[in-house]
Amino acid sequence: MDIFGSFALLLALGAAVYAFGGGIAGILTRRPLLTKTARNAGMAVFGLVTLAVATVVYAFFTDDFSLAYVSAHSNHTLPLYYKFSALWAGQEGSLLFWTWLLSIYAFFALFLNRKKHPELMPYVGVTLAGVQIFFLTLNNFVASPFRVLAGMDATGMMHVARLSDGSGLNPLLQYYEMVIHPPILYLGYTGFTVPFAFAMAALLGRYPGEKWIHITRRWTMVAWCFQTVGILLGAHWAYAVLGWGGYWAWDPVENAALLPWITGTAFLHSVMMQEKRGMMKVWNVWLVFVTFMLCILGTSLTRTGIVSSVHAFAESSIGGWFFTFLGIILLVCLAAWFKNRDYLRSDNQLDSLVSRESSFLFNNLILLAACFAVLWGTLFPVLSEAVTGNKISVGPPFFNKVNVPIALFLLFLTGVGPLLAWRKTSYDSLRRNFAWPLAGGVIAGAVAFAFEFREFYPLICLVLSVFVTLTIAAEFYRGARVIASRDGTNLLTAVGELTMRNTRRYGGYVIHFGIVLIFIGISGSAFKQDIQKEMNIGDTLSIGPYKILCQNFDQPSTSNYSSDRATLEVFRDGKSQMMLYPEHRTYLASQVSETMVAVESTPLRDLYLVYAGASPETGKPVIHAYLNPLVKWIWFGGIVVVLGTGLAMFPSRGAALVLRPIAERAWGESVVPQTAPASAPIRRSEGHD
């Protein structure tokens, strides 16, 4: 099996090298055959890597403990779905998984555009193949998942050894979210390679105008959406499994995932400047480049241990490869930009400070500031050691001090930006659009203030959240009212009709609303309470409106783990509400302990109970209770963001009708002029205005 898999990986590397070399030769010699074979080789990488992945999965399913990777991450009794997820539980497998997801993206990028953009696609293929060569080199020669265990027999001969059982999967990963969180986050990380490839291709090929942005908008949104979900799932997993009562700790690995998300968000906004006004071309190209580089950096941070993190303590030799690769990317980007910088000249200039353009500029400025602050804080131990010789780290206060004001300013722009006119906004339109939402926000703030809700940042967050929600609601209402009165339908149908006519715009509003919900949830953390108490049977503790009575302690152990469990009865207003069972398990095979948190989640607050082990002094069990307000809003907001993204990617009804006849005709004929006639109607109806 290992030979089959290794061979598939080697062939995949060969195919990628051909796609790269042949692609470049095809561009230089302008021979269609070379270009075509290079593209086919690029698509073949997908099939070959799939074979390698299938081999690893097969080895896990058949308990092939002669493979080092399988024996280190699985055992006989592991449930089947965890045997599957063990594919990405360790270094070698997760790198292979990375390569595989990238090859899926590359395959579809090449396949779906095989008859389009003949000037652009060869460059795209070459860029994708270049990235694939790097990862396949790692898969083949640095961290192969097909390494076999070898042992010496009595005569001193080396031979392949097979273990009777593997060491199993880390219990922390034996959680259903861990089956989906890594693939989704990886789909985000790898997905940004496609827009990168298109941007690079457009720059190198001097592809006219902003067509590459139209082509890659959906790809970017797909990657962005996966990244969002991946981050939120990771946060939820940390909350539900790690038992420290929080979901975000500014840990380097969390930051690593956040960085490309921030620049990706900036890109999704600033591309509109290029589409509508032909501005910020250099900026957009660099945003895509930087996003991709941050994805590579994030991938390497989790694996190299250059910054110590809750997630990655280990040092590994793979860092050098990643930093060399990052250096190469940076050089290629700089060279491509320098050579073609005249092609990126801006068509327009900023006309007014109160305009859509400037709101986008501020949006980008502040997102980049956040990105820079997070990157700086994450890499500070490394940077300070290099410069001063002292390794200095910064903690959550640093990140919060900078990012909380940034987040609130972004929230403000979320409300204001979409309603400002392009070029210049009149005073009248400002008053018309913002008077009521602003009044609503201020009233909400005043009411909250009167009710002793006086923390500064949460109060601002509340005012802004109400303001943004009202602007969004007003947008839907205004548009729907027009449709309803014209078509004679009711308002709800009209909202649906309105949304489907311009999915990009109204999907965007839905995403913004989801972000508002997430912000509300995060602001709840300012009111977090916790209490820790040694408890015997019959003892009580009080937290917020709850009283918790300790009913029982037992040890419901199984063959897999031994456990200490508390049975706690929760009272509210003197009435019994429910029983909660926080647990502390120790897995016997691995001697790894795990906290099983008991959470009662309501929209207003989560009651989060942890069995914190026995007190060192008295031997009595310690219960740690947290009251986490509004946490549920974060997860709910995440769902809204996903729905909004799906909506925004859906073709608008009006645009689809215009597009179809032209597109169908263009399919059969020459492909070059196809985008030109089609893009005009799209732009009119699909624009985010």
Partner: protein, 158 residues
């Protein structure tokens, strides 16, 4: 042009504010890393800074005292007596032989008062395989599990 200048002024104000905030956050939370062997040679002012020190917990050195937990960290033959005075219970992974990262301040007597302790299980999860006679040596594995905090922490609890 005028709009551009206004935009630049606005950006300048924002960036300056953020830099000031960043500086305040930095001074509040900066923490130095030192190895145990470095501690003895630190110049006097640096000995009073907040710092992080890592090492392995000496076997049998964990003692539960009234209101604190004492243990000894070892690294490259040097030892550091640590008193943990934090209020959170120690992480599950903190035990004899574990690799630990303590955060706190050095005391005049050469001991270390820790407010936070992070620990990683010494054996990691990839325990050396047993069971097969002539058990093969594990190929040098790099655990680097991306999403794998096989490590408890008292840090981050606010």
């Amino acid at each position: 042009m005028k709009a551009q200048r206004k935009f630049l002024i606005g950006s300048g104000i924002i960036v300056a504010t953020l830099l000031a905030l960043a500086y305040v956050g930095y001074t509040q939370s900066k923490t130095y890393y030192h190895t145990i062997s470095e501690l003895a040679t630190l110049p006097a002012p640096e000995q009073h800074q907040r710092m992080r020190v890592s090492g392995n917990v000496r076997n049998g050195s964990i003692l539960h005292r009234d209101g604190r937990i004492d243990f000894v960290l070892e690294e490259e033959g040097k030892a550091l007596p640590v008193s943990y005075v934090g209020s959170d219970p120690l992480p599950d992974t903190f035990k004899d032989g574990a690799q630990a990262l303590v955060e706190g301040r050095l005391q005049p007597d050469g001991g270390f008062t820790a407010e936070q302790v992070q620990a990683k299980c010494a054996s990691k999860y990839e325990a050396s395989p047993t069971g097969t006679p002539g058990a093969p040596p594990q190929p040098s594995q790099t655990p680097g599990q991306s999403m794998n905090p096989a490590q408890g922490s008292t840090a981050g609890k606010s």
